[in-house]
């Protein structure tokens, strides 16, 4: 008979909160990083503003999105990247390489949840940089502030996108179970997601029709594009449910795939000895 210890949920979560807290503290020791990421963000805000102003001067409102909305879109996208570019699952690759995955497997914890809390702790720290970055950005550009209900929908959609992003990173880093190296695959996925994720150019700029529909349905759109289009109002409240249902769908698909790949990777270690 297997004796299963039943612990209250709060106590089972304690280690993961501790991981998140530790990641937060560790991240805060790299102060130079914070300054450079905020500074580079402000520069990018300025550059993109210049680009869009120039483009709009040539050809007014290409897709029916007014200039102030596109500048808002770009700036909010850059602020989102402050937390979305954090990748706690890099640990999988690092731990596979130096072999410490073995000592982690000897602990009574769920490693995927550990990686998530690690990333979450880092994210929380980087989220703090959003405020100063936003204040600096406001000197350069005007950012529209939507109605509270829209903002709430954006926040919810952003959380969903955050989770999709985590799972995408998780899957890519899990490739290290077989290859030890994930640089190439990450680079390729990064290129594709930059192009198709709507971080730089809104996906509604793709020619209307099947191509745009297709790109909007891809998982990359679930990370940046959906919350951003909600923010600037391109997705109207009537379509919120539909848009977020698609995000949830990707979350479920990636979740299932992530679980499969993790189980296969773990099996590989326990059978082949890593």
């Amino acid at each position: 008979m297997i004796a299963v210890r039943h612990r209250p949920l709060a106590r089972r979560l304690t280690p993961y909160l501790a991981f998140a807290r530790t990641a937060f503290v560790r991240e805060s020791t790299y102060r130079i990083d914070v300054f450079t990421s905020v500074a580079s963000l402000v520069v990018r805000v300025y550059l993109l503003r210049t680009v869009w102003f120039a483009l709009y001067a040539q050809n007014a409102a290409p897709s029916g999105i007014p200039l102030h909305a596109i500048v808002t879109y770009t700036t909010v996208a850059l602020l989102m990247s402050l937390v979305l570019e954090v990748d706690g699952t890099r640990l999988i690759r690092d731990k596979m390489r130096d072999g410490t995955i073995a000592t982690d497997l000897m602990k009574p914890i769920s490693l995927p949840v550990y990686f998530f809390s690690e990333g979450f702790g880092q994210t929380c720290f980087h989220a703090l940089t959003i405020v100063p970055a936003l204040i600096l950005a406001l000197f350069i550009v005007h950012v529209d502030l939507p109605a509270p209900s829209v903002l709430a929908a954006f926040a919810l959609s952003f959380v969903l996108g955050y989770c999709v992003n985590f799972l995408l990173n998780f899957i890519m880093n899990s490739v290290a179970f077989w290859t030890l190296e994930t640089f190439a695959i990450q680079l390729i996925v990064r290129w594709i997601s930059d192009l198709l994720g709507g971080q730089i150019v809104p996906l509604v700029f793709f020619p209307a029709g099947p191509l745009q529909q297709f790109v909007l349905a891809l998982p990359f759109a679930a990370i940046y594009s959906t919350p951003l289009l909600i923010y600037v109002g391109t997705i109207p409240p009537a379509h919120y449910a539909q848009a977020m249902a698609l995000q949830v769908l990707w979350l479920v698909v990636f979740g299932a795939f992530g679980a499969l790949i993790w189980r296969a990777g773990e099996k590989r270690i326990v059978v082949q000895g890593g």
Binding site: A18, T22, R26, T103, M106, V271
Partner: protein, 335 residues
């Protein structure tokens, strides 16, 4: 009381893709699916009682680490069975993890860029150690291991000796029933080695923690364990008390003779002159062939001697002999 650790005919076979060498071989590897099998552990049966301290000894590649990995649950055996404190480690890895502590000499489980204290706090959360018990343990470990001085230092800045002491405290924080030590004193200076040995000795004696110690440093074993298990090529070749191995294989002793200036080499029947450097001669003899007493009498009668001393064989020499000659139980060999 049933044994706390029990393995029956435990086997682990690794299968790897056969790799060719050179350009042609490499190209062939891309298409062929030929596998090579390597037996890492080939049928290990042993049992340990709670509170035992056992030295698990063997040359590199003998299968020591593979056995430990199976006992911790991170490696699934190819065949055979394991029971650790009533659990099957690989099937109940998480439950098993609460019963065990592990220290690898070559690998730290501390968090690299955090102060040592933060690693302990994290482990407290992972194992759900009550605060009072945690404080008690920390106080106790601080006393034996003297870790107080560097609790606030990031692990990456610690010396190897400090880091190992931190690793030992980390492994014992949740009061495991069993602790696996894999080469725990490797690369340490004499002082740090001694601190670690004292710690292991005390937790075994005071807390009744069962200890499995794998090491190349046989001084660790001599200092700590009463029982040793010798493994070679995946099989146990000896399992028993340390004294027995010494009695059966440590039959060669050395009489060190210091002679008066200009004295010729000492001579005795059934003893062999091993070396002569200056005035010091070394005579090797078999305890079963001649007693030390008789040998000393012979030597002192024939030579002018200023000093005598007797050297016991060191465990390392004995074990080296077993590996090269193979272990045969003298009791059964006699019949």
């Amino acid at each position: 009381m049933p044994p706390i650790i029990r393995t029956t005919e435990l086997r682990k076979v690794f299968r790897s893709l056969k790799r060719g060498s050179g350009v042609r071989g490499t190209l062939k590897t891309l298409f062929s699916r030929e596998y090579e099998e390597k037996v890492a552990v080939g049928g290990v049966t042993m049992s340990l009682d709670a509170g035992e301290l056992v030295g698990y000894i063997g040359p590199n590649g003998a299968g020591k680490s593979t056995t430990i990995k199976m006992l911790t649950g991170i490696l699934v055996p190819t065949s055979g069975s394991i029971g650790v404190a009533g659990l099957t480690p690989h099937a109940q890895r998480s439950e098993n993890a609460r019963n065990i502590g592990v220290v690898f000499g070559q690998r730290s489980q501390l968090y690299w860029d955090l102060p040592l204290r933060e690693s302990f706090e994290l482990l407290r959360a992972i194992y759900d150690v009550p605060r009072a018990r945690y404080n008690e343990n920390m106080k106790h470990f601080a006393e034996i291991l003297e870790i107080d001085a560097f609790l606030g230092t990031p692990v990456r800045q610690l010396s190897l000796g400090q880091r190992m002491r931190g690793d030992f405290a980390a492994a014992m924080l949740h009061d495991p029933k069993i602790i696996y030590l894999d080469e725990p004193t490797i690369g340490l200076d004499a002082l740090a080695k001694e601190a670690i040995r004292t710690f292991v000795e005390r937790i075994n004696r005071e807390r009744g923690t069962t200890v499995i110690l794998t090491t190349h440093d046989l001084v660790d074993v001599e200092r700590l364990s009463k029982r040793i298990v010798l493994i070679d090529e995946g099989r146990i070749i000896f399992d028993g008390p340390l004294e027995r191995i010494r009695e059966e294989y440590g039959t060669h002793r050395t009489l060190v003779v210091k002679l008066v200036d200009g004295e010729p080499d000492p001579y005795a029947e059934r003893a062999e002159l091993e070396s002569r450097i200056g005035n010091v001669a070394r005579l090797k003899f078999d305890r079963n062939a001649i007693s030390a007493d008789a040998l000393i009498r012979q030597v002192t009668e024939r030579s002018n001697v200023t000093d005598l001393s007797l050297e016991e064989p060191d465990l390392e020499a004995i074990i080296r002999r077993i590996y090269t000659e193979g272990y045969a139980d003298p009791a059964s060999a006699a019949t």
